[in-house]
Chain length 189, copies 2
Amino acid sequence: MSRIYVLRLGHRISRDKRITTHVCLVARAFGANGCLIAGDFDPQVCRTVNDVCRRWGGIFECRYVENWRAFLKHWRENNGVIVHLTMYGINLPEIIDRIRSIYSEGRDILVVVGAEKVPWDLYELSDFNIAIGNQPHSEVAALAVFLDWLFKGAELNRIFPDAELRIIPQQKGKKVVRIFKKEKQVGSN
Amino acid sequence: MSRIYVLRLGHRISRDKRITTHVCLVARAFGANGCLIAGDFDPQVCRTVNDVCRRWGGIFECRYVENWRAFLKHWRENNGVIVHLTMYGINLPEIIDRIRSIYSEGRDILVVVGAEKVPWDLYELSDFNIAIGNQPHSEVAALAVFLDWLFKGAELNRIFPDAELRIIPQQKGKKVVRIFKKEKQVGSN
């Protein structure tokens, strides 16, 4: 089955801490398998994301990548497709069917989202440069809408296995239940 | 015609500057009429957003709100509907048709997105508490996906009038054209 990873490019600790964390959490919540971060080494982001995974479930990889160009090359050599989200690219509605068919063929997809400016060669290294509307907004929003279109909204009803916490949706207020974990029970016997 | 405004609640200058800017830019790009900010007074956010509007077009209001509870009360008294996006609410797919029909009836919609924790009474003051999937992720993503579902993707093809700049979508690279502005021409005669 195809895998989807997100590559967050150009993370700077002071400026991007929260945005990069949001990128990772969106990747997880909207059905990606992991998020890779290239830029300043900042252990706090993956710590936060891993903590969310522990409490809210699912298997999700978060880690740093030293050399993102080598990573893209390796991704391509393994028949993976590279999708760069950029306001300058082809607008999503015109290209999403093509991406969906690539995904359903079983090829892995790497979704690249940059910080403010991305290196010029990224446009060439990517198989697709895709805009989520050709207006300036947010890489967090772009990633969410891309994955939502790819999965046709099905990701919003996804169950995350091995969650400690689960929300019971409410009209008003909050209801969160703590899930009984079999593994832990077995471990304590 | 119905208007859509976004209320960003609980902005803190040091922590939220970039997230709040992303919220405002998403509001604009995804078809809202304006974004109101409650929290620390931070003129830089609206300055950035107004600068984007000047260059990329469209009419979009960005301003601070002193007393957000009074603002919600006023919104309601004017037959407006309040939608609070929260991971604890009813999941989007179950409620979007209702919101769309409210919108098409001509009622204004205020979409409230909070920072980390929101005051408890917001759940009561809102007509709808809506989750974009019941998982932790990002208010920027939540807002984008909500507006994208509301407008069924049509907002991604929206033309912003009076833009100075417009993108010509490209497979590779960037192409931006500068638009001839009639008003300026008239003004200079």
